[in-house]
Subunit: 153 residues, 4 copies
């Protein structure tokens, strides 16, 4: 899941891009990649965002963790095995205790965006079982990774 | 996947309700049901809608089929094995060649709605590879199943 | 995942039988149920065996848990949506720290066994990170569930 | 899924080796890679074998296709995200209408074999719905890919 070598302007806007192979088993009875696989790709890109922002130790120390509140995927192109997809993730909106990540899926075989979408993630304190305000350190880590922060609440 | 025996007012609004067991393998490393499983449940409820509206033969004859254009899932409750979920589906909006289905996921263990969301489905002619206007026969079948039709475009 | 109502002599030999619906998404590009789904069904039947033998509290207290050492599945019939499968599990062989479970998958639509196979499970002490001898209490629980024990080592 | 750069003597015996990333979602509630994922990896390596032996067009022309008759996986090491696995496949035994493929899964993070196993595949005539003798052209293609053939029946 190395950074993609693909030089595409739609991916260029994303600070985090992972590359995953389409496998034969990703296809369903319609003989194209099943819709749940795209949602799994979004998940992998969120995990990569946390890794690359280097905030996991910070979160674990404070018993904080992200919880997925909502996900939307817009399907633009059917995909088939074999292919390699490049999945981008970036923070597009910041709330008090939540943030919206935008995703894009670029197909190497098609040379086109196959899907886009977004995830709303809430920062959760697992001890108090309540959402918490996103700490300044976390905002700083996102800004380091993205170069800038989206306008906050 | 029989009709649910659950008598819940939130499910009562849905003409199609299927019941599926949560299995141990639906859980991820967070030890709750993974987000992609909810999206798979939505898929199963869409398939059940087509079956119960009895429109598959009509569609196949005309080489028409639904394509998923978009899916959104709002996660309200974490789920764990063991549980049984009841998933509702209904047509909420009608366009010229597309329709929006609303979904709800009701957890028997929690006695609560665990998620809701929607799917946008486009009716597609696989011979011409173009979206087509939803035929009158299909609207009639949806009306038979739901009792009424949502306001059209 | 209630006990199956199916009265079949091949299932009758199994003390634990769970029933699961085949869902549309279980099918792959060959338009039959994918091979990994059968292996997932075996897993669900192993989990049900532990639940029904009522040994989970005993294991957790001692920091013991089963680890899967090997799984074999023999595919006898292709399956398709819609269908309901009944999956049996029983302990067929006992070793010092391991046991072999036999599995069978019976298709309601076909009225036939669709697959059989077996799992080798090792009892593991998660503190010492070593296999441990199966305790007498666990053997007694298996005997209660099965009516008798297979010949031991 | 390029040929692996890993220079490992256990992989060196395999004419076909594919490389796949472990993703976060491959892990289950035990926080290690779920057993069904290994079986999916075997499937991907079988698909790669058919591609690299370049026999798909030959098979499609004659309406022949492989059907999985049996799969066995021996789990040797627990795997976790992040990791990359290299999965080998080779024909180990030839029957009249069936063949046994051996598989190995090598973990880059562990520097060790994490699993091995085998698949029995039957060559099937989809028109007559019967197993057929493996044609000479297919044996020749396997020999080209492997350098030699295992002893036949």
């Amino acid at each position: 899941m190395a950074q993609t070598p693909v030089n595409n302007h739609q991916l260029a806007e994303f600070p985090v891009v992972i590359s995953l192979p389409v496998i034969w088993g990703d296809m369903d009875a319609f003989q194209h990649v099943n819709n749940t696989v795209y949602v799994r790709w979004f998940e992998s890109s969120r995990v990569a965002f946390v890794e690359q922002a280097d905030i996991r130790p910070f979160l674990q120390e404070r018993h904080l963790g992200p919880i997925l509140a909502s996900v939307t995927c817009n399907f633009k192109r059917q995909l088939r095995f074999p292919d390699t997809v490049h999945i981008g993730a970036r923070v597009a909106n910041l709330g008090r205790s939540s943030m919206t990540l935008d995703h894009v899926v670029y197909s190497e075989t098609l040379g086109q965006v196959a899907a886009d979408g977004s995830s709303i993630v809430v920062l959760f304190d697992y001890q108090s079982q309540r959402p918490v305000r996103i700490p300044q350190e976390m905002l700083a880590a996102i800004e380091r990774l993205q170069g800038s922060l989206p306008a906050g609440p």
